[in-house]
Structure formats: structure tokens, C-alpha cells
Symmetry: C2
DNA sequence: GGAAGCTCTTGTCATAGGACAAGAATCCGG
DNA sequence: CCGGATTCTTGTCCTATGACAAGAGCTTCC
């Protein structure tokens, strides 16, 4: 029926899933596109879907009490875009998820996810692994926030996500690093000297 | 065979699990005790178990490049003590988990967990919920680290885990908050004035 | 194609928190 | 129950970063 879409094989590898399993899984995902500045998820709503990014850049951010927004993550090709707590605990989110560029993504909803999760063992193994991987990343970032000075955190970000810089404003990078755009500008000036 | 232990009903509620399911689940957990200062997990090892605390206090911490240790969490009665990435991704951990007091816990190993996870639907639902809950907590803490001043983070900790203060040194609390013990001491002095 | 916004840089000044050191208080372990 | 080790506080001085403001260079969009 639905032709197995090429991109999703990057996520669901034939090494880990049988042909029949892939035939169950892939058709549950639908291709959706977002225009630059579109919201995938808005504060106060409950996440009904999650996405794998095929093309484009996405940012998630939280708004603090002072009305400033704090970048919490950046996403691009191959990444999963999901608000774990909102999607799984079924409660309204505190975050916003917004397309930084035009994007194309593969989307699945909660019910269909649940169905696959409970019926296909390697699907739930992979899902759990992905979640634990996000947890691990977040924890490393938290520790880095305490132990590393801003300059090092910036350098690390550049190494790990060099393509980010091309698509994200310095203001947005700064809040991700936990500093102001002013400080980031000075840090960049420093680093440029070297 | 094994009498259903009372404490674990606090974790696995008869509302969510059938009697037969509980009969499968509970015997897989064994009661273990730790003496003050014992390690539940040491840096470099791979987590083979996780625990539910019945009595006592536990702390996890990471050691940074400068050799300073940074508290990452505190645990007490009813909490799950688990290094998610190490336990599930089966890789060596960067953290240490240590008993702050004598403790009694309920322990399960990886193989037995897997068996229950893949065979009992509400067990994996609950497991996933617990993991997502940890993720949520960690994310809120990360955001708070960026948006809230140390004083507020300390106040919040006191509200949320008042019993901690009785069992943890200020040094250990300070690193959890991302500040030095000196600063924490001054913050406490300030707050005492009010 | 120009007015209105952005983004980024830079300057000045303010401040939270760090580094280091020393003393007081408290907690062990033999 | 003593002596050494911690823990906690406090002082002085220092540094990274923030707050605010202004200007330069862009987008953008009617």
C-alpha cells in the first residue's frame, strides 16, 4: 500500500526490525511539512505527536517568569523532536517548539505509537533507548552547566553541532548556554583572537 | 514462596496491577541493605541493578575534571535509585551513588527487569512513566539553573526536599545547586535574617 | 526603496558568586 | 576523652557575567 519511505529506514534499520515489523511501523508515520516560524507545539498544549526531522532546523524553548525565552534544544535532520513529558504523561507543556527554517518531518500520534510500543518488542527497546539517550544528553549538559565556564560550553556546542551556528541567532544560542547575548558576543571575540 | 513484601505495594499498586502480575513482579525484587558510606554504584562500573529505597538517604554525584564532586541527586524512602543510561545502555557510568545513612532497599537486576518489562504491559507503562518523570525533573532543574538565582534554587530545594537538609552536608547541597559551600553559607545567612 | 525592526557588537558600570584563608564548631576514632 | 579531621562561617579581594544603552549593519515588507 504505502511505499516504504526511504528516510525512515535511517531511523528504523532493517538490522533491528524484520520486514513484517517495518511494514507495521512505517505506514504509521506520516510526512508533514512546516514553514519557517511555524509552531510544532505551543506552551499550554499537550503534545499529540512527535516527529523525526528529515530536512530543516527546529528549536525548542521555555519562557521564564520574566518573559525571556530560554532555548532548550536544537534539532535537525535525523533527530527526534519530542516533548517527552507532555507526550507520555499527557499533560500540557511548558515548552514551545518552533521551525527555524522550512522543515519536513515524519510524524506519529500517541495512539498509534502506543499500539506499536506494546506490540513490537524491538520498537519499544529502541524507544526506550532513545529516551534514555535524551536523558543522558540532558544530564551531561546540566553537569557541564555547573562545572564548565561559558566559554567551554560554547566551544563544545560548536564542536558537537557546528551546523547550528548557521541557522540560529546568537541570542538563541546564548540562552541555550545560560548566558546573555552580550556575553556570548564577548566570548566569541575572545575566541576569535586565538 | 516469597511472602509479598509490604513495602513494594507502595511502588506497585494493586490498582494498576492484577494479583497475578504482582505475584510475578514482587518476587523478582530482593531486599538489600547498605551501611553508611557504602557505594551502590561506582564510577567506571556498569549498573547491574536499580533500587527502591525503603529507609535511609542516598546521594549520587559526578566527579569533574578538577576532582571536585558535584551532587546530582538525593534519594530517600519511596524513591527509585537508578543510573538510567548505565542501566539501560549497558555502559560504564560516570556517576557514583553512595549511601548517606544506613539504608534498606529493594533491588532488581537487568535480566529480570527485562523479562518483566517485555511481558507485563502495565509494568512497562509504569517504568516508562518513571523514566519520563525523572527526565521532567531534570529538565526543570536545568531551566531553573539558568533562570533562577542561587537563593531561589536553595529555597525551592528546601520546600521540595526539606528532609534533605537533615542528612546532607551543606557542601553537598551547594554542589547540587551549582555554587560553593561558601556562597551557600552566605545565602543561608541572608535568608535567616528574614 | 525607505522606515521599522532585528541582530550583533561595544562601552560603562554593577553585582553575584568564586578563590583563598583562617577561625569556630562539631564530629569522630582510637 | 583527647587530637585530628571535617564542617561551617566569615573576611578580603577578584572575576565572570549581567544590565543597560547606543550605534552599525542587516533584513523585510508594504
Amino acid at each position: 500500500m504505502t511505499d516504504t519511505p526511504h528516510f525512515l529506514h535511517r531511523i528504523f534499520s532493517p538490522d533491528r526490525f524484520s520486514r513484517e515489523q517495518l511494514q507495521q511501523i512505517l505506514p504509521q508515520y506520516t510526512r508533514v511539512t512546516f514553514s519557517k516560524h511555524d509552531y510544532l507545539l505551543k506552551e499550554g498544549r499537550t503534545a499529540q505527536h512527535y516527529w523525526f526531522v528529515e530536512h530543516g532546523f527546529v528549536r525548542s524553548y521555555a519562557v521564564d517568569t520574566g518573559g525571556n525565552d530560554i532555548s532548550t534544544n536544537f534539532y535537525t535532520t535525523g533527530n527526534i523532536v519530542i516533548d517527552w513529558p507532555s507526550f507520555f504523561l499527557r499533560h500540557p507543556t511548558r515548552e514551545n517548539i518552533q521551525a527555524l527554517t522550512d522543515c519536513s518531518c515524519w510524524q506519529i500520534g500517541y495512539e498509534r505509537f502506543q499500539q506499536l510500543f506494546h506490540s513490537i518488542e524491538p520498537y519499544r527497546e529502541q524507544g526506550r533507548t532513545t529516551l534514555v539517550g535524551s536523558y543522558f544528553e540532558l544530564k551531561n549538559r546540566s553537569i557541564s552547566m555547573i562545572t564548565d565556564p561559558a566559554r567551554d560550553r560554547y566551544r563544545k556546542l560548536l564542536e558537537e553541532k557546528p551546523h547550528i551556528l548557521q541557522n540560529v541567532s546568537l541570542k538563541q544560542i546564548a540562552t541555550y548556554l545560560g548566558i546573555t547575548d552580550t556575553s556570548l558576543s564577548r566570548i566569541r571575540k575572545e575566541l576569535a583572537k586565538e
